[in-house]
Subunit: 232 residues, 2 copies
DNA sequence: TCTAAGGTTTGATAAATATCAAGCAGCAAT
DNA sequence: ATTGCTGCTTGATATTTATCAAACCTTAGA
């Protein structure tokens, strides 16, 4: 399968301004692959051979140390990962696994670096993307260090509700134990944190979240674009 | 005062490959300024008017939310900050204050962006720098989420000892309360964590750290380049 | 339909971390 | 030397978070 079969790729901000010839270079070396669920795609510490783009499905980024591990992020359709490692030709800092059946595009890191060297449109797009990623991780650090687990959960739900178009009811799109790990708590404590939000008008039944009193929740969550707005 | 008076600037990785003419553009708009201690240089949320470079002194990056605040990083001589905000023309995510008498170079963000647009050497250097910064913050997140406070302290000390050339005794270069905040704990708990490291051969007297049994400390800290090596 | 497996929830308990209050030590200005 | 300021440390206590064990759901497959 060819990259040209996937028009979405070329319309990604990362590739939109790449010259046609250089896009061909990237496309020639690219693989499109389907993976079953729960496959470990990359392992932290390994050399970064490919830039990954998720076409379909869900990929979990996670990291481990001394027998513990933690969910760092989940990447969904048309998200990319391992850009920084690819650019620096450095080892992966995180591992990645599919959570469901997923389709990915793999761009050989060497091709990415060589096009990056000669294509200024690509270089500029990479700068924009990296700056955005950097800011996201900074926001995440602020979230972790400045908020309690209940406040993190409250803000997560507020943000998800915005993502659901403001609907008072929506579905969580990841398992609770992964959400717990992402938010820096145990699954048990996520359960308790959900209970603790009941007085603020939050009900959770399975994966379905219902927010009956957004005002109370907001009052607790105190979201700020400087932590909670991914686009900011 | 002119940028040309500060030859160190031009030899920074960020500016080394900038064309001479473009370097002139950056230099013409640049300010060099001296600040007394405890001056707030920038405030989170404000538009990013300048890229900052520390020539002399120490600057603390910190962030606040809901009456709490936390130290995000300290920047010393020839470090830069606010690159990502400058590039994206987005508001600062962190505030900065001088900790001691400091001298900074301020490059107007507009100049930085305009040279970035036309100078591919500069663009490439920015990509390298941003990728490095991104990876640093990811490592910091892993440190926070995967380790207890004592483990974070142990690894901090191991890393500082390496920075001191492996000497068995060295000085902390930031106040303990800021170190505590940086490591994600209270000053009180830093005191207790230091005590908890005594059985591992660590003694702290004022700012002076002495490591009598590096092997025991390493055994506890279990450092890995994927978290602890800034260059990795 | 039944079963097994894995995720989730609950309760009891333990560990980690924060808070509060007091005392101590270093240091700069007088 | 004395004063006052600030940061550091210590002890007591409270809060937050994690761990462990068990029960409960849900769901995929036999």
């Amino acid at each position: 399968m060819k990259l040209s079969d996937i028009p979405e790729i070329q319309s990604l901000p990362l590739f939109r301004d790449v010259e046609d010839g250089n896009l061909d270079v990237l496309m020639r070396g690219a693989y499109v692959q389907n993976f079953p669920p729960r496959i470990e795609l990359i392992t932290e510490g390994e050399p970064s051979d490919f830039l990954h783009i998720v076409i379909e499905g869900t990929v979990e980024m996670f990291a481990s140390w001394n027998g513990r591990d933690t969910t760092m992020a989940t990447v969904k359709s048309l998200g990319t990962f391992i850009l920084a490692a690819t650019i620096r030709d450095a080892p992966y800092l995180m591992s990645a696994r599919t959570l469901e059946k997923s389709r990915l595009v793999l761009l050989p890191s060497e091709d990415v670096r060589s096009v990056f060297q000669k294509d200024s449109g690509f270089a500029h797009a990479i700068v924009a993307e990296l700056a955005q990623c950097y800011r996201s991780v900074i926001k995440n650090t602020k979230n972790l260090k400045l908020r309690t687990s209940i406040e993190r959960l409250a803000n997560y739900l507020v943000r998800k509700q915005i993502g659901a178009g403001g609907a008072s009811s929506f579905e969580l799109d990841i398992e609770k134990r992964r959400l717990a790990s992402y938010l820096g708590m145990t699954p048990e404590n996520l359960s308790r944190a959900i209970k603790a939000l009941q007085p603020y008008g939050v009900t959770v039944d399975g994966a379905r979240v219902t927010i009956t009193n957004p005002k109370d929740l907001l009052d607790l969550a105190k979201p700020t674009p400087l932590i909670d707005d991914p686009a900011h």
